[in-house]
């Protein structure tokens, strides 16, 4: 590799087309990844980013055009051939064997041997080395099913390191990470870059793109709109290039005064092992944000509140004492929780849109036999009201893009006609155009008198959307910010338990 010039791309797509059946999803795209450079690929959901990444890493073959590795055309027959040549894709949904240990995963398929037997000691040593380079605290002998999502992400990267990757393609690596975890990941990306790796990643978080990338490629509707050095693009310009139109203010403004009537009063809510003595009041028509690090017990406290977890504490809904032991009881009291995990807890991916839409409120449709026509009408209405873009009415939920799945999940939750709705990560992994639709929708809901709790890891979102923000830390309520105090800085300090403004990482 001595004769290589700086400008020669390590991996390049040259006017690549790709069709699925009659549908062409990529139209002659050109992207080149250079050694020692971090390249960001951005675009709305369905713009073709995933397809492009899969073609780069051998998961899909192009139907036209070529893939070049170090200047020579290559044809990766499979992801294994690509990996053997140092091109690795790190999936958004992790590709780890949950029941195996970290070390077994890192060396899966290329185990070190001594004679007939596995050389466990050597594998463990090397794995530990890579993990410590990544500042990952898990032990090589930990079972993957027992470690957290950010740690799984790091294990995936350790796996790529172990494969001597020259090109690392990451599909939304920070989607499941908190800000401080993402920061740790960026330091690793910085290090890999300085060692000469070519890195491509996608993200919906434009501040991250600005922070870490050297060049940006924007895709829209299967074509490359522009490729520019990051220094020449502001976040607004990125967003506009992605959406193809000018974006007005992302967050709607509250119209009219906030009611003083409490809709939900929670006192001393305790979810064993996750949340302790959480108390707050939610007013009618209010949007209340809940912030905190991942693992701060935000989600678990709310899951406890709606009866998905065992809990103690006093809950009053509309002034009346309420006992909630199951989600069904919560729903009957007008309280519904919308999960952050739409793929494994929100939607039955193998069922149709109609079956998913009506699942939470199926009793409304049972008279006692299910009223199929009413269900179809509900679907028609949901597709219209929530602007769900679907290839066909009778498709399975898994065929929708992430943003449209989220809209379907919201439609499903709203069909239960809640008076109080808890939305956990309303826009995770969703493009900016759809985000705006969801924000508008949440505001409309509040204006109609529904009380909303929004849990979010994205600080601009939780600040821009909510009237007040509660901050949780280690299972307890750390504080509340409202009005002019509602700043990222104030929230981060509360979430970290800091008196002074510093962004040090929280010790586990």
């Amino acid at each position: 590799m001595a004769s290589q010039t700086i400008s020669q791309p390590r991996l390049a797509l040259r006017s690549v087309d790709r069709s699925f059946g009659p549908v062409q999803v990529l139209h002659g795209i050109d992207i080149d990844l250079r050694p020692g450079e971090v390249h960001a690929l951005i675009g709305e959901n369905g713009a073709g980013k995933s397809t492009a990444m899969k073609i780069m890493t051998g998961y899909l073959a192009p139907t036209g055009g070529t893939v070049e590795l170090d200047g020579k055309p290559v044809r990766f027959g499979s992801s294994e051939t690509a990996e053997a040549q140092g091109v690795v894709l790190i999936h958004q949904e992790f590709n780890l064997a949950e029941q195996l240990t970290v070390e077994e995963n890192v060396f899966l398929g290329r185990e070190l041997r001594r004679g007939l037997f596995l050389d466990k000691a050597a594998m463990r040593r090397k794995t530990a080395g890579w993990l410590s380079e990544l500042r990952c605290r898990v032990a090589p002998t930990d079972r993957v099913s027992d470690i957290s999502n950010p740690d799984k992400q790091l294990v995936e990267i350790a796996k790529a390191l172990g494969r001597d990757a020259k090109v690392i393609v990451m599909d939304e690596p920070t989607a499941v990470l908190t800000n401080s975890e993402a920061e740790a990941l960026f330091e690793q990306i910085d290090r890999l870059r300085s060692e000469g790796a070519a890195i491509l990643f996608t993200s919906h978080k434009l501040d991250e793109v600005k922070r870490i990338s050297d060049r940006i490629t924007v895709m829209r509707d299967g074509v490359v709109v522009t490729t520019k050095p990051t220094s020449e693009m502001s976040e607004d310009q990125m967003a506009e290039a992605m959406v193809g139109r000018e974006l007005k203010d992302l967050y709607p403004v509250r119209r009219g005064a906030l009611s003083e009537t409490p809709a939900l009063q929670v006192e001393g809510l305790t979810v064993p092992g996750h949340a302790e003595d959480v108390s707050f009041t939610l007013r009618q028509g209010e949007i209340l944000g809940i912030a905190g690090l991942i693992g701060s017990g935000r989600t678990e406290a709310m899951e406890g509140l709606v009866g998905l977890r065992r809990h103690t504490g006093r809950v009053r809904i509309g002034g009346q004492d309420a006992t909630i032991r199951t989600p069904k009881e919560a729903q009957e009291l007008g309280l519904v929780y919308l999960t952050e995990d739409r793929k494994s807890r929100g939607l039955v991916l193998n069922m149709g849109l109609r079956e998913n839409l009506t699942l939470t409120s199926l009793r409304q449709f049972a008279k006692p036999l299910l009223d199929r026509r009413a269900e179809e009408e509900a679907l028609t209405k949901a597709i219209r009201d929530f602007d769900i873009r679907t290839p066909a009415r009778d498709t399975l939920a898994k065929n929708l893009s992430g943003g449209n799945q989220q809209k379907l999940l919201i439609a499903k939750t709203m069909l239960a006609e809640p008076k109080i709705v808890i939305i956990d990560e309303p826009t995770r992994g969703i493009d900016i155009g759809t985000k705006q639709q969801i924000y508008d929708f949440i505001h409309r809901l509040a204006a109609e008198g529904t009380s909303v709790i929004v849990i979010s890891s994205e600080l601009p979102e939780v600040i821009g959307l909510s009237d007040r923000v509660l901050v949780m830390r280690r299972g307890r309520m750390a504080g509340e910010v409202a009005g002019a105090d509602k700043t990222e800085d104030a929230i981060v300090r509360l979430a970290m338990g800091l008196g002074a403004a510093s962004r040090e990482e929280e010790p586990a």
């Binding site: 199951t326 069904k328 807890r345 039955v348 069922m351 699942l359 449709f365 036999l369």
Partner: protein, 335 residues
């Protein structure tokens, strides 16, 4: 040729026009009927058809219940032993009550009630262990399978429990008579199958079963009481085992450790052949009915012809089951 699936959540739809997943079991059944008719002229006679259907009824009634259990992501291996135990219990209770009650309707109703209650309780025990105690369905029902088999052997003291002869004559109409020449087992099987199909396709419970089998977390987060729905599937299956036993007892008038052996496998096989997904998430009762008929027709054809020894019945059934699962997977791969 295009085929559209009527059901709500049909899994993969084949790309090449014909949906093997839907048509497969039906075509297999038609082929078997043609083969049977060509090989033996008696095959399509009213006597033989009635005989096949009546013998299918026991497994069929149980298999309808099994369809719900499997659709909701469960399994029940205990149904064969459960049937034997319930049969033994029913005979024992009726024999014991005979001296005080005499032959007549009261003692028959007592027997029927015994079977129904025993079935409900047995299914409830399976269900509670699986849902509330969170033990794998496979382990629980493997355990109860052994327990019931052993209990019936113990009740019969290693031999056979026989119904009092007078009672047996009185009960016989439950198996042998019927309405308009159709015997009770066939009528009951038909009613159970129709109700099962309606419940599966057109009620909230059926939809919940499919959702739970597909992803129980999503169901839980969608306010579905997952444990209770699962429990209902096992209780329902237990009740259906009880109903099947009520008609099985008058047929032979006895129960022993050999009663109901391998019924669980036949019932599960019928469900799978019919297109219900073994891992859960999708089930169809009409498919199960066809699966049951396919299995009993194979046995019947082997009995009527000399080409293959009837002793190979089990082997041929085994091949069919494996084939059915392979076909299921292929239609999934086209996804």
């Amino acid at each position: 040729m295009t085929t559209t699936t009527e059901g709500g959540a049909a899994p993969a739809k084949a790309r090449h026009g014909v949906n093997l997943h839907v048509l497969g079991p039906i075509l297999a059944l038609i082929a078997l009927v043609i083969v049977g008719a060509l090989m033996n002229s008696n095959f399509l006679s009213a006597g033989n058809v009635t005989n096949v259907l009546a013998r299918s009824a026991f497994i069929g009634i149980i298999a309808v219940g099994m369809t719900f259990v499997i659709t909701a992501g469960g399994l029940d291996l205990s149904v064969g032993s459960m049937a034997a135990f319930i049969a033994g219990l029913m005979i024992l209770v009726m024999n014991l009550a005979l001296p005080s009650m005499g032959v007549g309707l009261p003692v028959m109703l007592l027997g029927i009630a015994t079977a129904l209650v025993a079935g409900l309780v047995a299914g409830w025990i399976n269900g509670i262990l699986i849902t509330t105690m969170r033990i794998e369905a496979f382990i629980v029902t493997l355990g109860t399978m052994g327990i019931y088999r052993s209990l019936v052997t113990w009740l019969a003291d290693g031999g056979t429990l026989s119904l009092d002869f007078g009672l047996r004559t009185a009960l016989q109409p439950l198996y042998y008579s019927g309405i308009l020449g159709i015997s009770w087992p066939i009528i009951v099987f038909a009613i159970v199958a129709i109700i099962g199909e309606v419940v599966m396709r057109m009620t909230a419970f059926g939809r919940y079963c499919a959702a739970i089998g597909s992803n129980d977390q999503v169901a839980r987060y969608s306010s579905v009481n997952v444990n209770r729905m699962r429990l209902y599937t096992y209780v329902g299956l237990g009740l259906l085992v009880g109903i099947a036993t009520i008609m099985y007892v008058p047929r032979l008038g006895s129960a022993s450790s050999a009663t109901g052996v391998l019924w669980e496998l036949e019932a599960i096989a019928a469900v799978i052949i019919g297109g219900t997904v073994l891992k859960g998430g999708f089930g169809r009762v009409w498919g199960t009915v066809i699966g049951v008929l396919i299995l009993s027709l194979i046995g019947n054809i082997l009995n009527l012809t000399d080409a293959v020894s009837p002793y190979l019945n089990g082997a041929i059934q085994g091949v069919i089951i494996v084939l059915a699962v392979i076909l299921q997977r292929e239609s999934k791969a086209g996804d």
